[in-house]
Structure formats: structure tokens, C-alpha cells
Symmetry: C2
Amino acid sequence: MPKQKPRNAFYAQSGGVTAVINASAAGVISAAKKHKSKIANVYAGKDGIIGALREELIDVSKESAETLKGLIHTPSGAFGSCRYKLKSIEQNRREYERLIEVFKAHDIGYFFYNGGGDSQDTTHKMSQISKEMGYPLTCIGIPKTVDNDLPFTDNCPGFGSVAKYVAVSILEASLDVASMASSSTKVFILEVMGRHAGWIAAAGGLAAQNKGDAPHIILFPEIPFEEEKFLRKVDECVKKYGFCSIVVSEGVRDQSGKFLSESGLRDAFGHAQLGGVAPVLANLIRDKLKYKYHYAIADYLQRAARHIASQTDVDQAFALGEAAVNLAVKGVTDVMPIIKRVKGAKYRWTIDTAPLAKVANQEKFMPRHFIDKEGFGITKACRDYLFPLIQGEAYPPYQQGLPKYVKLKKTLAKKKCKAFDI
Amino acid sequence: MPKQKPRNAFYAQSGGVTAVINASAAGVISAAKKHKSKIANVYAGKDGIIGALREELIDVSKESAETLKGLIHTPSGAFGSCRYKLKSIEQNRREYERLIEVFKAHDIGYFFYNGGGDSQDTTHKMSQISKEMGYPLTCIGIPKTVDNDLPFTDNCPGFGSVAKYVAVSILEASLDVASMASSSTKVFILEVMGRHAGWIAAAGGLAAQNKGDAPHIILFPEIPFEEEKFLRKVDECVKKYGFCSIVVSEGVRDQSGKFLSESGLRDAFGHAQLGGVAPVLANLIRDKLKYKYHYAIADYLQRAARHIASQTDVDQAFALGEAAVNLAVKGVTDVMPIIKRVKGAKYRWTIDTAPLAKVANQEKFMPRHFIDKEGFGITKACRDYLFPLIQGEAYPPYQQGLPKYVKLKKTLAKKKCKAFDI
């Protein structure tokens, strides 16, 4: 059999970025270098898959070794990411064909797509259409989502670091409130991400090491909000502990399924204010219980907080990037490498794979036995699941008192195709 | 001259707590131990000065050496703090007399009060009234405020760590927004503390190392908000850089002097929503510019963030606690130790003192030459002032993936006085 010429790889970041998605990129790039006989060069999509559609391919070989190493400790999507969901092949064949056109022009033989559920779906579709069009393309999805809602994998890269940030933040803020509560703020609310699944909010529960420790209340999207029950619990906590510390998921819904964040605030013109469940709860507490409150909304701070990233998370993100390449060069396609927890008292993990056809468009919610009976806290099973994911402090290097994050040059490969409207 | 018997010291934390106020407490306790011939024991007020009024004195000698050492890396007010301003002596002589009564009963000869401007004022009044009542009491104020608004001292303990948190957070969140802006959020707003002075917001400017770097806009309480000018600038940034990153001080006011945070949002009942200037700006951007936005409100997270505290800040907080004791045992009274910046290219600081009579009730605002001409950024002079204050990462120890913060036993000294209503 004649030896095959090495082909190029395309890597793209997709959807909301995380503190460790660049570590996955570093894993892909580092592993690709070890397989020169199979992978000639890595191109990355500028702003995700949009970069492939527009033929804006960042030539990774033009970046310095130091910059590429620095990806491991740099948050955000260094190559650019996007919110851009490719429609089904039937609805938009044109875009899939364009991708193949661009890939063909740049001899892309490997497609690595780093994202959440939608991205895994796109990767699967690319695998199908390339086969159908007779273009040989190895397609591997690399999991990424702060929401931790992908199926099959024990956990998602990005989540462990958000979890650590949220647990540390509510621990610190609760100490603050506790020390002032006798004469000042009695209720503190931290709003965290999680539109559908309560994993991030659950992580706040790790700060409570002993019974009665803050946070006293966690509100999950999985548990419909009951106003009276909630207010009763807040009041109980203030009376018992002197204060009440709350972590609320942005995705909490009322009994009718409506987002709580959409239930009240209006601007001066009467327009509904978008976003922010914390102020809705705060106003409720003010009106019904008259307690002094404060609230924080972590928003992007939580998913960008590389300064307090989990070492476990960074290691897994890198390992999954490496694994993607190692699978691809072995000829495996249409899969996503996943984290598998090894059974045993001590936490250990290995890498396994899941078929993309099964991963696509499934969301993994908090199982009911991870949430306590009352619905306001996490169980031991949940703590046992979460704790290993926040272990280790992967501090970035600092310069002048600030993290030394890297910035790519983003040198684009010469265009070979016609322009394309997206 | 007969040798004087050692007397006891009273220490209390006051007002909003910080990431490093406990380091000042540790400085006081550690220095007091070195002066056994002068200071017999340290009592701390439970919940600040309220603890003295109620005769709830925490016996510091009952805490373990390990716990006391851990104060250096524990945020919040470990002994409890309070928002409780003593009125003038004329208006409320009863409370001052009560303090003297309690101090007399416990042979308190040294009064250390760790707080902001109001607390320095109280310390000064205690000095006056003890003299007037013929009760020998050495009174030393220890500066503390995240707002950095005390006069005389080059900077205030607590500020350096908030500054570091804000600079790191806006750096990270801006990288996040930058990587998504082509297809998603274009404007990001981080709301930080600073009701009257813009020091904390200014610190966000440290993240911008080169021209055009985020944050692109800083809104200071010192600069009246001009809607049109602001919106024009936001639009310019989005067009020029692809996104606009904003740090806003909670205390920004409109041209008429009204807090912007009070200018718009209503709940479902039409009640004004308290707090939150970020959503007001966000709604403005949505209505007038139609850009997709996100906002974060750091609230207590910023002042409690011991996990990313500035080493300079921790060192200074500890040193000022020590200095307070060293001054007191020398017989100095009615002063506040302060940080003095030594002139020279390399940052160095020493400790000096300021008379409490002059410190009380003065606020230090950002000087105009620290804010650029346009009013949306900081100048080189400001950067030169701020940068040294965020140097060094004073990481706390971790256990199980979380900072190992200490908790005091808070053993109270036996009461000797009658109950007192406050």
C-alpha cells in the first residue's frame, strides 16, 4: 500500500467560550505535532465555523511556540468562537457544501469541532455529508460546555472551572455577609449560569461543608420555583443563622414554566428588562420579608475566570484535545472523546468515546437524587460527583500583577475559493 | 517610677468588610504578643463596636495559634463587623459613657478601631471623652476601606485586593466577549463598588495595557454621566474594536446629581428597583443602539475575593495592624497609622501617622488628572499610582479544592456590667 501524504487539520471553537477551551486547542495542536506523518498543519477557524465558511483559516504554524503554550492558561476562545448553528442538511445543503469546498481547497482531512450539543450535531452532519460527497474527512467532536449538560461524558471541560469559581465566590461572599448581618445585609443572592441544567448552581453547594453552612438555598432550573416555600425558607435561615445566602440559576422557572427572570422588572418605558433573576428574588424579599439584601450577577466573569481554574478541568480539556487527534490519526471518525470516571474510592478518570450520532441534541440534567428532598440543596451523591472536578488550582503566570494571557497573531491562510455570503 | 501593670487591648472591625481586614487583626494580635509587659490580653468586639456596647468581648487568647495565623488569609470580618455610627458626644453621651464603663470593667487601656472615615471619627471621639472622664485610654484608628477614600494615607488596605479582582475580572470577561463578538454579545458591562469615589472602577483600567485594549469605557462617580456622549462612545468602540467593554461605578450620577441606578427600573408593582446601574446602562444600549449586551454585578464578590488578593495589600494591612500596637505601646494616641509612598522609580512604602482629628469625615476622590480628558479612562499618572497596589498574588491555602478559611470560636469574656440597650 502506498504511503499516504499527510493532510491538514481544521479546528474550530463553538458557542459560549470557557476558561479552558484553549487548553483543548493546545491539546489538539500539541498532539498534531506528534503525528507529522498524518497531519501536516493545523488551521483554526477565525470566529469558529464562520471562519471555515468565509475561508478565514488561521495558520497555527505562524504562531510562536510560546504563544501556543500560553493557550493552556488563557481563557476565552483565542481563535474566536461563534453562535452559529448550521441547519439540517436538507434545509441548508449550501453551507455544508461550502465547508467541503473550503476543506478541499486546503486539503483538510481532519475536522475537529470544539463545542456543546449543537456543535456535536454539526460534526456528525459533516461526517455524513463528506461521506455522501465522496470527500474523505475524519470528524471528531471535542466536548466543551460550562453547563455540563452533554450526555455520555462524566463531565464537560469548562464546567469544573466554573464550578470552582462559583463555590469559592459564594464561600467568600457568605463569610462577608455573615460578618455584617447583625446590623446590615441579611440576604445575599448570587446568580449563576445554567439556562436548563442546574449543575453550576449545584457547585455553589460545595462551599457548605457542615450543616447550616452557606449557601443555605440553591435554586435549580430542574425544580419549579414556589414563592411561598422559598420565602419561608429565607426567613427561617435569617432567624436561624442570622443571614441567608442563596445561589440561583438563571434558568429558574415558575410553576407555569416561565423564566422567573422575565416575571417582573420593567424599565421607565414599561419594557420588560431582560436577564437577571437575582433582582426579581431581591425585590420579592424586600417586599415580602423586608430584609436588607444584596445580589451579585457573575455572568461572564464565571466562565472566563481562568485565574481560579480547576487543575482537573485544565488537564481534562487538554487531554480531550489530544485524544481527538489520537483518535483521528488512527482512522476513527464520527465520535466525541469523553471523560470516564473510574470506579473506586479515589477519583480517577480515563478517556473513552461516544458516537456523535447519539450525542447530538441531548441535554443532561441534574438527576433528582442529586437534589435534596426539600429542593434547596445538594445531596452527598452530588457532592461526591462534584468535588473531584474542582480539585487543584491551575494558576496562570502573572506579570505586573495581572495574568499573562496570550493573544494570537491570527495569520490567515491565503484564500483559494470564491467569496461566500453567510 | 513604679512599673505599670499591663492593661488589656480592645480591637473592633467596623463597616463594610474586606479581603484583608483580618490581616490587620492578625497584625494587632501578633504585635500585642510581643509587648506582654504593656498589653496583657486582646479582646475583640463581637460584631464591631456593638460588641463593646453589649459587653460581648471575644477573648482572643482562647483562639488557637493556627486559627489566628489563618486570619491573614481569611476574608470578611472574622470577629464580626457592623454598620453602626456613634452619634456626636452631645447627641449620645450615653453610648460613649457605656464604652468607658465596659472598658473600665475589663481594664481596657488600648482601643484599636479598624474602619473607614466614620470609624476614625469615633476613635477620635473616644480619645476625647476618655480624657474628659479621666479614664486613661490609648486610641488608635487602623485604616480600612475598599473605596480607598481615606485622606492622608497613600492607599487603604482592602482597596489593592478589590483593584486586583476588578482588573483581573474585566481582563478575563473582555477576552470572552472579544472571542464571541462577531456573532454574539457586543457590549459587556461590569458594575463595581464606589458610591462616591471612582478608585475601584479606575482599577479596571489596569487591564488595558495597549491602546484600544478593553475596558474601553470607565464611568466614574466623579464625572457626571452624559447619555449621548456615552452612547456615541459605545457605538464607536463596537465599530472600531468589534465590541465594547465597560466598567461602571455604582455611584455614577446624572447631570442633576441623581444616581443613575435610581433612574429607571420598576418591578411589576411599579416600585423603583434599588441598586444596579449596569441594567440601566444595558437597557439604554438595547433601546438606543440595539446591540446585544451582557452585564455582571460584582457586589460582595469583589471585596471578599481573598482568593486573588494582592500581596502588597495583605502586607500593608498586616503592617498597619502591627504599627497600631507599636504606636500605642509607645504612648502615642489619637492617630491613625498610614501608608506613605516613598519617592523613587521603584515602589516602596513606609508607615507614617495622621492625627485622627484631621482624618475624620474627609473623603478622597479621584483627582481630575487621574481621569483622561474625555472622561472615560485613566491616565498614566493613575496607572503609575495603581499598579504597585495590585502586585503579588497572596493565594490562600486550599483543601479539597476550596480555600481553607478559618472560623473563630468567639469565646466571650465573662460579663461584668449590667445589660445595655442599643
